[in-house]
Amino acid sequence: MLDRLDISLRANHVLFVILFTAAFVFGVMASMTGDRFYLRLATEALILSGLALSIDILLGFTGLLSLGQALFFGVGAYVSALVLREVPSFWLALGAASGASLVAGVVGGLIANRVRGVYFALITFGMAQIVAKIIYNTRSLGASDGLIGIPVVEIPLGFVTLSAGNPLEFFLVVLGGITLIYAGMSYVLSSPFGRVMIALKANEKRVPYLGYSTWAPRMVAYVLAAVIAGTVGGLYPMLRGFVSPELMFFSASGDALIMVIIGGSGTLVGAIWGAILLVAFKSVVGSWTEHHLIIVGLMFMAAVLFMKRGLIGLVKPMIERRLVRIEAAREMRKEGKAP
């Protein structure tokens, strides 16, 4: 028997498969028409979708509002950039970015998880601002100018070596990475531990009565989210060839939050759809008028007011109903066959 969480996760998988297929077809077609810009823009959207996904783990499942998630994205990006400037190795840079964000996540989590609710939001916001300010003023890290001079790397995957300089190859690498992150997080959430995380969002006060610690799952969720944000952050300098303190500013965290809300929080896949939508929308509207920020703001307000479960909320119930019917039919067949 499947419970509601299983059905919900399966509906997410359906939406993810649609996204993956669409992205794959788009990538191949864009590459065939010789397009560079839209492929690289889509790659950036996928990288940012990792950041959005990490926010969704906190906001949509654990019930923690982080206003400074870009901190870990930035830590990953800076560490990856610094490593790449010395040793142009993809795996070393990515490993260092993950490791650094793990450490940053543990330190940040120990501080932020002492408090709840609005105080948690403010502390995450403050930590990101402090670190961004420090980097903004540190000359050896490029200060306000950021770091440039990051070489194009080769990506050895064992059976084949791809290049971050080739738009299609790097797009596929990032798409693969996001798929792994999505699959990994879906697995964690469907595990008993994941259910404790979700219970925290539903009713944190009751969780201790069921015999579970609330601190540990909250901490693990926070560190997991930090590592995901830092790992995708490590991909950013490989795409753009530079990093700047703006990557950690509130505008970056805020944008990622908007992606989650527009896409639909608590679905994982909604964050990815939201990221693709927002990046595409900002790019098109941004070229069209300089008042694009107003339009994005209005869109965000409309999403909050009229689509409480985000864009995904419009189609997900439909998919869920169908999955329930299929499941019910299967149960019936099973019972019919084994009298």
Binding site: F37, R40, Y136, E246, L247, H291
Partner: protein, 389 residues
Amino acid sequence: MKTKFWVALATTTALAMPALAQDAIRIGVLTPLSGTYAGIGQQVRWGLELAAQEINTSGGILGRPVTLIYEDSQANPAVAMQRAERLFDVENVDFLTGTVSSGVTLAVGELAERSGRLMATTVSFADSITGARCSPNVFRVNARAGQQSVALASWLAAERPDARVFYLGPDYEMGRSTVAAFRSNAEGVGATSVGETFAPLDSADYSQYFGALRSARPDVLYTSVAGNDTVRLFTQLEDFGVRANLTVLGASGTVTSQNIAAIGAAAEGFVTGVGYSTLIDTPEHTAFLESFRAASGGADPDLYGADSYGVLFAYQAAAQMAGTTDTDALREAFRGLTWNTPQGVKTIRAGDHQAMQQMYVVRVEGGEFRIVGNVSAADAIGDDLCERF
């Protein structure tokens, strides 16, 4: 659905581009049209539009008209890089200009190099752009921080010999580097440094620094704060009586036409070194000033507007000399290029791609800037620190 749309869009632009490129010379303008620096972006826009209009009515460049294609950099390098890629790959621009913050100029310069295109900044001050971090594809037609400091230091040597100088900068990279640049120039002409302090951006209260300032007994104060910070610093200096017997010097951006009215009488006597002043008295400049005011609805050009106006004429001169818009030929033509601007003749130094130009020392008198001195282009330029080419 969305995928189809993107592919359709990409295909149509890819098909449309070569035909268009034959007709017009496409200049990408990546400048802040929204946010903190939107005021600078507006000046850049006025300057470029006026120049493009004048070039187009007089026959264009190599017989082709000039088209300006704008993208909003939002003064955020992460956004600017993406927008620059769009200009290079989708809009297929021949040349890029308009970048404001030094971080954006440096990052986009690297992209220009990868894309095999040339760019020029008309605004960024950081010395490193045409110094330690120079690029063969990046040019600068405005005066860098070093040129401004040299001009100001030469005035200091003539008017306040053996000055005791106190430095007060905004506490971030730009503030620290402008103070360091002026300090070394001032000490080079015999001034004594008696102290320096850095105040956070957007400080509301500067009086906490006045104790250190007074006890150091300087007769010159150098500051590189900008915008509303200048308004607060100057009015507080006046209110606390610290201003008496003190000559206040500053960076080009400290007192501008944007904040001079708000500072009021406290700006009186302020001296700075700039590459442009609305009081330049030449027939070319008078004509420029008139047409700029007509195009901007009455607003005066500032250094950003004037330098941006000039960059298109540099491009025109280089393209006509090269006879093509091909990157390598154009780069050669730009090196050592001499061309006329409303600010006078400018020359791009081949060694580091920095424009050499006459620098002015201006002073606020009666609420307006007056030119009180100038430094020749050769004296202001400083050493060539670029090692890449």
